[in-house]
Each structure stands twice: as C-alpha cells, then as structure tokens.
C-alpha cells in the first residue's frame, strides 16, 4: 500500500486528468469514479487532494459513502 504525505496527496486533486484522492482518518480513498466528485470537487466547498477527516464529521452523510471507494494508500 502506498504512503502519502499531505504534499503528495495534494497532487491528486482530480484536475487535468489526475485521479481524485481524499484522506479520511489516515486512509486515502480514490473517489475519481464518483459522480459527486467530478472535477475534483464535492458540494462546491470540498476539494480532492485534501484530508477531509474534520469536514466529514460535519457532513450530511457518514463514512459509509466513502467506504464504497477503494483505499489506495495511507496518509502519514
């Protein structure tokens, strides 16, 4: 399994054909195939390439929606 730091994670922002990765509680998920993450953005305010652990605590959904997507690595 790949290891990411925040700088490396930020390159997977879903822009210009790059995959869209997001981190939650140390796991990095590939959400590129999600309709709701098209263009590397979700709900206008959330961006791919970031650790969204805090944001997800306030989201109108739980981890179950994120768990549908593959874990591609761990965030250091």
């Amino acid at each position: 399994m790949k290891h990411f730091n925040r700088e490396k994670l930020s390159t997977y922002n879903g822009k210009n054909g790059t995959p869209a990765y997001i981190a939650y509680k140390g796991k990095v998920y590939d959400v590129s195939d999600s309709f709701l993450w098209r263009g590397g953005e979700h709900q206008v305010i959330h961006k791919a390439g970031e650790d969204l652990t805090e944001a997800l605590e306030e989201a109108p959904h739980g981890i179950e929606l994120l768990e549908k997507f593959p874990v591609v690595g761990l965030l250091k």
Partner: protein
C-alpha cells in the same frame, strides 16, 4: 439581483458565490430529476408498477416545483442559470436517475427513486447547515424543499420495505411546504 439581500448574506459570513453555485447545481438536479422521473414513471406499469406510479408522479411534479422555487433565489443573490441546457444538465448536484437495465423490475426502479431522494436530502441538509441563522430566506427555502424530499425518500423506502411506514399518501395539492415560494 437584490443588492442589499446579497450584502446581508455576505455580511453573515457566507461565501455567496459558493452558495449560488450550490443552488444552481441543485436547481439542475431538480430539473434533470423531473426529466428522468418522467421516464421512470411511464415504465411503472403492471400490477406492481401501477401502485407506485402515483407517488412517483407526485415526487416528479414536486421536483419541478423545487426547480421553480430555487430560480428566483439564485437571481436574487446575483447568480444565473447557464445559457446552455446541456451544461446545466452536466453540473447537476445529483447523479442522473437513469432507468435500470431491467425495466420490468419495479424494485430496481424504486432503488433508483430512493437513491435520487437520498442525494437530495443530503444536498438540502448541507444547504440548511451552511445557511442556518445567517441567510434566512435561503434557509427557509432549503428547509421547505428538504421537508418534501424527506417525504419522497420515506415513500419509496417504505415501498421497498426498509422499515415500518409512518406515512400516508399525500392529501390535497402537491408541494405543501414549497408552494409558498411558487409565484
């Protein structure tokens, strides 16, 4: 645009451009859902399908009403709808509610319907969360739409047998919560 309205919302700490973008994406979701529900509805046939057709129709009409109710708020806040309908479709805040492969499988149609409603419930909860106590008019509108989306979700969920039913068929006119925003 309603200049002071926008100013008040900005002063409350809300990023108005982001809020408008959310409203436009949700307006797109409502209008595209209205379209896709039309196709789902016409395929609800037979002994099982006909029993669900009426609530699918109520949800379809109410989603169109949601679109109508959202548009004035978008323009009040200085936003606008895209000129191109294709672009509008593609920026939808929720995935297209496509007809399932097996159109005779009523449960699969119900799963599409409940999935679309669940996306909408999350979208409007999100808008309520960011506008509560700040942008009263958008909050009031989003809450009214949320109330109807929650009912839609419950109807379809209960037809899928996901849990006991606390709901009855809608009595009277459609959009009991949103009608006050329809001019």
């Amino acid at each position: 645009m309603a200049k002071v309205t926008r100013e008040m919302v900005e002063n409350s700490g809300i990023d108005v451009d982001e809020l408008v973008e959310l409203l436009v994406k949700n307006a797109a979701a409502e209008l595209t859902t209205f379209y896709y529900y039309t196709i789902l509805r016409v395929n609800l046939i037979g002994l099982e399908g006909e029993g669900i057709k009426e609530i699918a129709e109520a949800a379809r009409i109410e989603d169109r009403n949601h679109f109508e109710a959202l548009v004035p708020r978008i323009y009040e806040l200085g936003g606008e709808l895209p000129q191109d309908m294709k672009e509008f479709h593609d920026i939808s805040g929720c995935p297209p509610a496509y007809l399932p492969e097996d159109i005779s499988d009523v449960n699969k149609i119900l799963e599409v319907l409940v999935g679309a409603e669940r996306c909408a419930v999350r979208q409007y909860t999100h808008i309520c969360n960011i506008t509560a106590g700040k942008d009263h008019r958008t909050y009031d509108l989003a809450l009214a739409i949320l109330n109807e989306e929650i009912q839609h979700e419950s109807w379809f969920s209960e037809f899928l047998g996901e849990g006991p039913s606390g709901h009855f068929m809608r009595r009277g006119e459609t959009s009991p919560f949103v009608s006050k925003f329809l001019e």
